[in-house]
């Protein structure tokens, strides 16, 4: 592994990259944000000016070296600048998930002992003030949007604008100190600390150094040929490592422009207006978008529907091959070009995907149909595999070698090996420094030679050298008859049906598997409307016999497909139920990155699991739910349990 003692041109920190960008491309756009209906932009020179003014303001507020500065809010240029400003003064930025409740925030803020908090708006101010008594180290809070803040006690509160102004005013006296602190930044200074969402247990603070971030950003930018003229839309949580790498690491390394949407609700519109060239979205976003397209096509006129169906069928056949640069017949090419003109082009424009050169999805498995749909349109959508501890990249798919069932080859500079138990290990320049204040976990995860256990089980495919991930290593278990139990394998197959939003499969240590299923309200709701099925609530729709029939058909099909796999045929679903509520991160059932917490769900709905195994045909249950304002309530329901058709495994049939 190469460990250069100094970066290119001595660029060993994010602030140093900012100064380079402000010098080399001072007038190109660094940030854009839609506000008051217009895209406002910052050039790199302006970004440096504001970041530096804020850093000076922070110095004046008394930020010391090594202090933690928490940053909470939606993606906004000034909040990104806050992270860099914090690093400038030798402090450590800690972005937090903005939709987390006050208690969740309190844990993280107390764990790192944040002295300063920079927030987006009043909502976040209120949350921090609510828990400030549990935060002995907390001293000052800076807010960006002044709306509704006039009446607050301003002894510890400061307006962002005022801090920046104050910094500007005191530039002459404080600039010396700022330059001194910036000069102290090296490869090994902490660039950022990110809290993992925590599929299990409390969040852990992952410390990432400048070396981690900048080397990873450099390698991955070169891998995909990212340029200063690229455009990204920053809409994923700032607390997530991916956003930090894309919107700070790669953006500062290559100098491309980061665009921030106006609000969460305007995402689709803003995406269309910006037309990013480099785009990342979790599978769920692509799923939802495809569902919406399909629903709207159902309502389209006959001619349009015919055009869409005909050309999409053709695109599925030759689109991916054309994208991968393989040879395709002339007539097929002509027909595809016509389709591009009539269908694909306008559709991509509507979705905001017209300019995409490189698109990534990761985090969860993506359905093959969904993946192929986007690729057949000519969108270069690829998969990558990564985690916070690796500064994202472990493996990724090179152009021309893209498939829905693998996660690609090791990223440049990353070594990957498979352990004896099937677990995936990696070692890379991006490998994290440590878990903050948690040496035991650090030692458990990272061995002295720098190999990190991912916690995922997988294998390298023979021939192609691509990595395939089966499941979380912890979740892969044994059934009572000794067969392998890989819940995610089955769950993913279920989730590929548009009607199914989420599935949770149980069966470790048991003789058969059972499943909880969440319906997708937009898809099932639309289907119900078409079939004149009346319903007044999510719960009523989820319990409707016809919905259950439809889901049962999906489960049976999945069983057929699972039976094909000799190793996992024991994971077929014997009984299932459709849950009366949507699994929600606010109730602790999903992580903030929307991953299923199987164990917690199993404990919470213990009565339902028992009922699935004891053979009863219905079960009454009461569930506690948390509303958006933090109040709690109860949902009562009687759920119908259904049996699915189980197919004998392929092996057994052959033996007979």
């Amino acid at each position: 592994m190469t460990q250069p003692s100094s970066g290119a041109d001595g660029l060993q920190s994010v602030p140093a990259l900012l100064r380079r960008n402000a010098r080399v491309m001072s007038n190109s756009a660094a940030y854009r944000e839609k506000e008051f209906g217009i895209w406002q932009s910052w050039t790199w020179a302006e970004a440096l000016d504001e970041t530096q003014s804020l850093a000076l303001g922070l110095l004046d507020l008394g930020v010391n070296r090594g202090d933690f500065v928490a940053i909470i809010g939606r993606n906004r240029p000034n909040l990104y600048m806050s992270m860099v400003a914090a690093e400038m003064v030798g402090a450590i930025p800690v972005p937090l998930y903005q939709d987390a409740g006050a208690e969740e925030m309190a844990y993280v803020l107390a764990h790192c002992g944040a002295r300063f908090v920079i927030v987006g708006d009043q909502e976040q101010v209120d949350k921090v003030l609510e828990v400030q008594n549990d935060l002995p180290e907390f001293e000052h809070m800076i807010y960006l949007d002044p709306r509704g803040m006039r009446k607050y006690d301003h002894t510890r509160l400061h307006a962002f604008e005022a801090v920046m102004e104050n910094g500007r005013a005191k530039q002459s006296s404080l600039m010396g100190e700022l330059q001194k602190r910036e000069a102290e930044l090296t490869w090994d200074s902490t660039c950022v600390m990110l809290y993992t969402s925590g599929t299990t247990g409390k969040p852990k603070g992952v410390v990432l150094s400048n070396r981690n971030i900048i080397q990873t950003a450099q390698a991955s930018s070169e891998f995909d040929g990212l340029k200063a003229t690229d455009e990204v839309l920053a809409y994923l949580p700032m607390a997530w490592v991916g956003d930090f790498i894309f919107s700070i690491g790669q953006a500062y390394w290559t100098g491309f422009c980061v665009n921030c949407p106006e609000s969460q609700d305007t995402m689709a519109l803003d995406l269309r207006e910006i037309g990013p060239t480099y785009y990342f979205a979790p599978p769920r976003v692509f799923e939802t978008q495809l569902t919406n397209v399909m629903i709207r096509m159902e309502d389209a006129s006959k001619v349009k529907k015919w055009l869409f169906d005909t050309f999409m069928a053709h695109a599925r056949k030759v689109g991916p091959a054309i994208l991968d640069g393989e040879t395709v017949g002339l007539w097929d090419r002509v027909k595809y070009t016509l389709g591009e003109f009539l269908v694909f082009g306008p559709l991509k424009n509507t979705l905001g995907f017209s300019n995409i050169r490189v698109g990534y999805t990761a985090g969860e498995a993506i359905g093959p149909e969904i993946f192929d749909f986007y690729r057949s349109l000519g969108i270069n959508l690829k998969q990558l595999y990564g985690q916070t501890e690796a500064s994202v990249f472990i493996t990724q798919q090179p152009d021309g070698q893209v498939r829905s069932d693998t996660v690609g080859v090791p990223s440049p500079g990353v070594e990957v090996r498979i352990g004896d138990n099937g677990e995936v290990y990696y070692r890379s320049p991006g490998t994290f420094v440590e878990y903050y204040k948690n040496p035991e976990s650090t030692a458990d995860t990272k061995d002295p030679e720098g190999w990190v256990a991912t916690g995922d089980a997988g294998f390298f495919e023979e021939g192609t050298g691509h990595l395939r991930i089966i499941d979380r290593a912890k979740d892969v278990g044994k059934m009572s008859d000794g067969g392998m139990f890989a819940p995610k394998f089955v769950e993913n197959k279920l989730k590929f049906y548009p009607n199914i939003l989420e599935a949770v499969v149980f069966g470790a240590g048991r003789d058969k598997c059972v499943a909880f299923i969440n319906i997708d309200l937009s898809a099932v709701g639309n289907w119900a409307e078409r079939n004149n099925i009346a319903y007044s609530s999510y719960q009523e729709l989820a319990g409707h016999p016809k919905v259950l029939d439809a889901i049962q058909a999906h489960v049976n099909e999945v069983n057929q497909s699972v039976a094909q796999d000799p190793m996992l045929s024991g994971c077929q679903i014997h009984r299932f139920l459709v849950l009366h509520k949507e699994l929600d991160a606010d109730d602790g059932e999903l992580t903030r990155t929307r991953k299923v917490r199987r164990k917690i769900i199993g404990e919470k709905f213990d009565d339902l699991v028992t009922a699935l195994y004891d053979g009863s045909s219905s079960v009454y249950t009461e569930t506690e739910v948390t509303y958006e304002d933090g109040r709690k309530g109860k949902i009562k329901a009687t759920l119908e349990l259904r049996d699915a058709t189980v197919v004998p495994s392929a092996q057994k049939i052959a033996a007979e």
Partner: protein, 272 residues
């Protein structure tokens, strides 16, 4: 020029100024029907003033008198220290009074933005011809007005429907767009006719939050009519209670809640 009378300080610490609008012995008749019978009350600078009462109590008529749409047969409306002459609706708007309607009155075929822009109409000075050519002063004016509208759109969090035709919006959002249009004219006095009618609990909470922040951020004086007692009591600084065209109570929410006449009017009274 305001009434010299002293203001007061509310329970939550806001300072309310002098009288902006003074209704003096108002009586309004439609033919033989007396909709409003000899009512007097005032609205003070910066306060949220509610008018409540059972169905047919004369609340909407009262609001129409305040807005200048109806001219009372008896009594006087004093606005900013002088009696108000009968005037046209646009003259009322120019005085800094804006309103929303009980039954939404938006231009259904126009986008949200265009609807909100109509709220700026009374402030536009350039003529029809220059607006059609859209150069120089007219263009500058359009940009200035658009900026004000965009701030309102941002304030009420309706950016995502900026370009959506109003006809396609759900009821709760239409109500919010109507409020946006009223706010676009930067009113000093805002009249809201049943702003929460027909809304679900969440929409009501949102609307309450917006009403409070309008009052808080811009210092706008607000007079509102509302059916939902809970909402009224939480929002208002002072409440006028009407029943069969008469004023039966006037005071802070607590005073009104404990007023026997009000309790009788709302809950009914036994006549034995």
């Amino acid at each position: 020029m305001l009434d010299t009378e002293q203001g007061y300080v509310t329970a939550d610490g806001r300072t309310i100024g002098g009288v902006v609008m003074d209704m003096r012995n108002i009586t309004l008749r439609f033919g033989g029907v007396e909709a409003i019978k000899n009512i007097s009350f005032d609205i003070r600078e910066g306060e949220i003033r509610a008018i409540i009462g059972p169905n047919g109590a004369g609340k909407s008529s009262m609001l129409n008198v305040i807005s200048g749409f109806y001219v009372p047969q008896e009594g006087e409306v004093w606005f900013r220290g002088e009696p108000r002459k009968p005037m046209k609706p646009f003259e009322v708007a120019r005085q800094g009074i804006a309103r929303t309607f009980q039954n939404i009155a938006l231009f259904e075929g126009m986008t949200v933005l265009d609807n909100v822009m109509t709220g700026r109409l009374t402030q536009m000075k350039s003529g029809l011809l220059s607006q059609a050519i859209w150069r120089g002063a007219a263009e500058r004016e359009e940009v200035e007005n658009r900026e004000i509208c965009e701030k309102v759109i941002d304030f009420l969090e309706i950016q995502h429907i900026r370009k959506t035709p109003v006809a396609r919006l759900p009821y709760g959002l239409k109500k919010r767009v109507e409020l946006a249009r009223a706010l676009a004219s930067e009113p000093k006095l805002l009249l809201l006719d049943e702003p929460m009618a027909g809304m679900n609990v969440e929409e009501k909470e949102d609307m309450s939050r917006f009403i409070l922040s309008v009052n808080d951020e811009f210092g706008t004086t607000i007079a509102l009519i509302e059916h939902d007692m809970g909402v009224v009591m939480d929002l208002s600084d002072r409440v006028v209670v009407m029943d069969y065209g008469k004023k039966i109570g006037d005071g802070t929410p607590d005073e009104v809640r404990n007023n026997q006449d009000v309790i009788d009017a709302y809950l009914g009274v036994s006549h034995d």
